[in-house]
Symmetry: C2
Subunit: 216 residues, 2 copies
């Protein structure tokens, strides 16, 4: 039962009543979350294939066979990293849009989207999305569909802003292709951005905005 929940990755049921989980349940889901976090970090640092389930176990303080108590396969663990990551990214994006004034301009909306995307991509402890971007290949076709649905919904939220900016002539490429190029430009930053370097995420955001839709 725990194992199938791991696959479907639905958040815990959140019933209204008081005693939600026994102590053991909380322990188990905590251990499970530890595994996902350690996996995300290792997959990002060394790649999926180069990371052994023993590495992940050790990073979580377990013995070699124990991750398979929580996940039915190494690949299910990878899926969990991606699904959790996309769910977090979507939540952040929703919050960022909701925090915007109702009459914010398309430019301001795009800025907010770019800024929060950088946060999720380059912020401290953000290994989930980079893993999703660079380890597609290691998913089965079925798993890929599942994550693709989340990704499509995440990216679709950008289209209203892009369409509006295209209408006003600020975005000069066709919005559908522009979206692909823009995500490419932003996602590629994980290859070169140095959090310890001189550039801030705010600066990066402003430069990206200038590049795609010009100044002011």
């Amino acid at each position: 039962m725990l194992k199938s929940a791991a696959l479907a990755e639905t958040p815990p049921p959140m019933r209204r009543g008081r005693p939600r989980k026994s102590a053991e349940e909380r322990d188990e889901s905590q251990r499970r979350a530890d595994l996902v976090r350690a996996a995300a970090q290792l997959f990002r640092a060394k790649g999926f294939d180069a990371t052994s389930t023993r590495d992940i176990a050790a990073a979580t303080g377990m013995q070699s066979g124990s991750p398979f108590y929580y996940f039915e396969s190494k690949s299910a663990l990878l899926l969990a990293v991606m699904v959790d990551g996309m769910a977090q990214a979507q939540a952040h994006q929703d919050a960022a849009l909701k925090a915007l004034p109702a009459r914010a301009s398309a430019r301001d909306r795009l800025r907010a989207l770019i800024r929060q995307h950088f946060e999720v991509l380059l912020g401290a402890g953000s290994d989930f999305i980079p893993v999703m971007l660079y380890e597609w290949r290691s998913l089965t076709a079925l798993q890929r569909e599942q994550v693709a649905t989340q990704k499509d919904s995440y990216e679709a939220a950008w289209m209203p802003s892009l369409n509006a900016l295209h209408r006003t002539g600020h975005l000069q490429a066709r919005p559908a292709v522009a979206r692909l190029f823009i995500f490419g430009a932003l996602n590629w930053t994980v290859q070169w951005f140095d959090p310890a370097g001189p550039r801030s995420l705010d600066d990066l955001t402003e430069q990206a905005l200038c590049l795609f839709v010009g100044k002011a």
Copy 2:
């Protein structure tokens, strides 16, 4: 001797005199090129770690141990793919720039650079550069330096055009950051572009140009 040549990856010496290579030498360098091409294709399709040297041997019609007669390690084979790929890309880029009219505008120069980059990235049988872009991690630090030098030189050729377009106000982001974003946008196309799809490389080029520096 063959092995060290494989590491340094210098093209065959090309002496002036007549009998350049014996038949065996030509055979050997042909077999070597076969290995590099097969490796590039497999590394791209399945990734470096998921490709065994046995896969590569089989794709070249050899037995399992034979690739090690030509390359001292699997990693040396990966390096060869990248070094050969960058050398080809650089040659194409030089040719594309030389084919331009002497008084071509900065916009035309950038268009030519983008167009030829797409060719090298997405054209038929172009597995070398995608491998270089997505298998960095599998190189040793020393190997990485070697390829980085080639890549720096390749990308440096874009700066005059970007600087000029910045001066005239067509490129609104700082050229140094713009270059990073632009290569991200272009390189990311290997993730989504379908050569069998409706979009042509010419169309893609024009849309990219519009996105970064606007129309006309």
